[in-house]
Symmetry: C2
Subunit: 192 residues, 2 copies
């Protein structure tokens, strides 16, 4: 998606440890107009896929999921990273390995907000190794729902998660796939 | 705001420990159409207040801040609750006491996303004792910005944070102020 490629090239920063910092528009400071455009693009790509619900994980997936939900006109649900005292008793949980922090955490979704039988679209800001997506997909399965696919803003193609999931039959639509990035800030997008 | 009062009465649940659970539309499952309406209402109330930036805190404030940002056409920034390895070096931080979890945590905002001299509107889903708002207001002050006010979806009026802040000169606009709630689910809103 051209507008996202340009924005990443302009405002993204390549940091040590294969980090692409896009906090100026995607996951710390939020550019609502851009995120709304991305939401509309997910809707365009998954139109006809029968999406009934959007699932993401806190915190940085929430903004994108909100704008996607606005276009799909379906509820969005975000998985929580810690069992909150306010969380209803019945939850679906799955473990997620964090490569960034070298830890494992649990994600939880209240059962009542993931009714069995629905077609669920996972939305997230980043896809790298695919750990968060694996966890969310497992929750979709536990809930007896069908995974309609995954809509990702930025896929780090060189970390392999997206291609692994596609090989496994998941429809992954990433609006920008970074196949290589260098400390000098140069970025090669797939398809360019 | 009538639509929010009705929604709280219909879908909210009063739980032990003065908890009003509204995860079905506000902070776990998200009703994008409703949140967009709330965002528009904040814009109506703060129109003319010169708002240049919206500030909230992860995770449950993000959805509301996104939709508010769409109407104000300004950037939204969310404070992070833990120092992330991806966070830029320079951050403004403030402590927040959590009454729910009886702990204290730090909130952080990258300095570059809170430029000095701007008029900042704080948005959050809940206002109870006002601890999160105190922390965010402190960050606004540290950044050399001016607090235009606070836009809150649900204020728990009986916990006093909103009135304390108003007495201190902060403009607090809450779309629903709960002055009393009972285990049987009955709720009294201020102004009714």
């Amino acid at each position: 998606m051209q507008v996202l490629h340009e924005r990443i090239r302009r405002d993204g920063r390549v940091l040590p440890g294969d980090v692409l910092a896009v906090g100026s528009f995607l996951n710390h400071q939020l550019d609502a107009a851009l995120l709304d455009e991305l939401g509309a693009e997910f809707y365009r790509r998954f139109d006809g896929a029968g999406v009934q619900r959007i699932l993401t994980v806190e915190a940085s997936g929430i903004a994108l999921a909100c704008f996607a939900a606005r276009h799909f006109r379906v509820p969005a649900v975000f998985a929580k990273k810690a069992r909150s005292s306010n969380l209803p008793a019945g939850v679906y949980s799955a473990p997620v390995h964090s490569y960034t922090h070298s830890t494992e955490y649990q994600v939880h979704v209240a059962r009542e907000f993931l009714p069995a039988g629905e077609r669920v679209l996972i939305i997230d800001d980043f896809l790298a190794h695919g750990a968060a997506l694996d966890g969310l997909a497992r929750i979709v399965e536990k809930a007896g729902c069908t995974l309609a696919g995954a809509g990702i803003a930025i896929e780090k193609g060189f970390q392999g998660g997206g291609d692994r999931l596609r090989s496994g039959g998941v429809r992954v639509e990433s609006l920008a796939i970074v196949d290589a990035m260098e400390p000098d800030g140069s970025i090669r997008f797939r398809g360019e």
